[in-house]
C-alpha cells in the first residue's frame, strides 16, 4: 500500500491523466486508479482533489443523466489542465530520476 503522505502530491496529477484520456466521473476515476495499482482509493478520497482541480480551472464539471444509472458529474480536462498535466509529468520525471539515481548509486 502506498502511504497517504506519498500519495498526496501525486494523486492530483494521476487524476488529471485519467480525465485527459476521456470524459469520466468520480467513481469511474477511483476504479481506474485501483486498476493501475492505487489500492484503497475510494470516490471519497478523490472528491476533495476533484473539487480543487475544478476550482483551479484544470477540469470542467458537467452534470448529466447517466445511461445506466442516476445523474452523474462528468469531468473533462481544460487547456489549463493540459498544461498542468505536462508540468506534473515533467516534475514527476525529474523526481523519479533523482530518486532512482540516489538508490542506484548508494547500492553500488
Amino acid at each position: 500500500m502506498i502511504s497517504s503522505q506519498m500519495l498526496k502530491g501525486t494523486l492530483e496529477g494521476c487524476i488529471l491523466k485519467v480525465i485527459s484520456r476521456k470524459e469520466t466521473y468520480g467513481y469511474e476515476i477511483s476504479e481506474s486508479l485501483k486498476e493501475y495499482g492505487f489500492a484503497d482509493i475510494s470516490e471519497g478520497t478523490i472528491y476533495p482533489l476533484l473539487l480543487r482541480l475544478e476550482k483551479n480551472g484544470y477540469i470542467r464539471a458537467d452534470y448529466r443523466e447517466s445511461p445506466v444509472g442516476p445523474r452523474r458529474k462528468y469531468f473533462s480536462i481544460t487547456a489549463a489542465g493540459g498544461q498542468e498535466l505536462e508540468s506534473f509529468v515533467y516534475s514527476w520525471e525529474e523526481l523519479k530520476k533523482a530518486v532512482d539515481t540516489l538508490f542506484e548509486r548508494i547500492e553500488e
Binding site: Y27, S42, E43, P48, L51, K55, P70, R72
Partner: protein, 220 residues
C-alpha cells in the same frame, strides 16, 4: 438567495429523499458540519448535491457509505472544506449582519405580540400604545442572540460527537436550558428601569424593516 441557489436547494431537497434511512444520519451529520464551515452558501449547496449523488450512486451499486467515504467522516469533510475557497471578510460581515437582523426581527415580533398587541386590545387603540424598552429587555435580547449563535455553532462544529441521545447528554442540555431560562427571567425582573418607549406602529415598522434587511442581505 439567488435564483440559482433556490433551484439548487430545491434539487438537493429532492435528492435528500432518495438517501436511504441507513445512510441518512451520517449524511445529515456531514452536511451539518459543512454548514458550519467558512465557505460560501452556494459552495455548501454544491457539495451537498455532490455528496447526495455520490451516496445515491453507491446505494444503486449496493455499496455502503464506508466504501465511498471511509470511516473518518470528519476528516473527509475537512478535506472537502479545505479544497474550497474560504468566505471573504465582506461575506462574513454580511452573514453576521443577516443573523443580527433576523434575530432582532424575531425577538421584536415576539415583544410586539406579547406586550404591544395585548395593550392595544386593552386600550382599543393601536396608535396610543407604547412598548417600554428596559435595560432588562436589551440585556435579554443580547443574551438570547449570543446563546442562540453559540448553540448553533456548537451543533454544527460537533455533529459527529453528538451525545444528546444519552441520558448524560440530555441532563446537561436540560440543566443548561433551565439555567438559561431562569437567568433571563431574573434579568427581566431585576433590570426593569425603562430606557425609552417605542410606539407600537413604529415598533412594527422597525421589525418589518429588519425583516426586509434580512431578505436583502440573504440575496447578497
Amino acid at each position: 438567495m439567488g435564483r440559482d441557489m433556490k433551484k439548487l436547494r430545491k434539487l438537493n431537497n429532492e435528492l435528500d429523499k432518495k438517501i436511504s434511512s441507513e445512510n441518512q444520519p451520517v449524511f445529515t451529520d456531514m452536511i451539518c458540519y459543512i454548514r458550519g464551515a467558512s465557505i460560501s452558501d452556494y459552495d455548501q449547496e454544491l457539495v451537498r448535491r455532490d455528496l447526495s449523488e455520490m451516496i445515491i450512486d453507491a446505494q444503486s451499486r449496493g455499496d455502503g457509505l464506508d466504501a465511498v467515504i471511509g470511516s473518518d467522516y470528519k476528516g473527509f469533510c475537512d478535506e472537502v472544506i479545505g479544497a474550497l475557497p474560504p468566505k471573504s471578510t465582506k461575506q462574513k460581515i454580511i452573514d453576521g449582519a443577516d443573523i443580527l437582523c433576523t434575530c432582532l426581527a424575531i425577538l421584536g415580533a415576539i415583544s410586539i405580540i406579547s406586550s404591544g398587541i395585548v395593550a392595544a386590545v386593552k386600550t382599543g387603540s393601536i396608535s396610543a400604545v407604547s412598548i417600554p424598552i428596559s435595560v432588562g429587555t436589551v440585556v435579554t435580547f443580547a443574551v438570547i442572540i449570543i446563546a442562540a449563535v453559540a448553540v448553533v455553532e456548537y451543533i454544527v462544529r460537533h455533529p459527529f460527537e453528538a451525545d444528546t441521545d444519552s441520558m448524560k447528554g440530555r441532563i446537561i442540555v436540560g440543566i443548561a436550558a433551565g439555567g438559561m431560562m431562569a437567568a433571563l427571567i431574573l434579568i427581566g425582573v431585576i433590570l426593569r428601569s425603562t430606557l425609552f418607549t417605542v410606539n407600537l406602529l413604529t415598533a412594527v415598522l422597525v421589525v418589518l424593516a429588519l425583516f426586509l434587511a434580512h431578505l436583502a442581505l440573504d440575496r447578497l
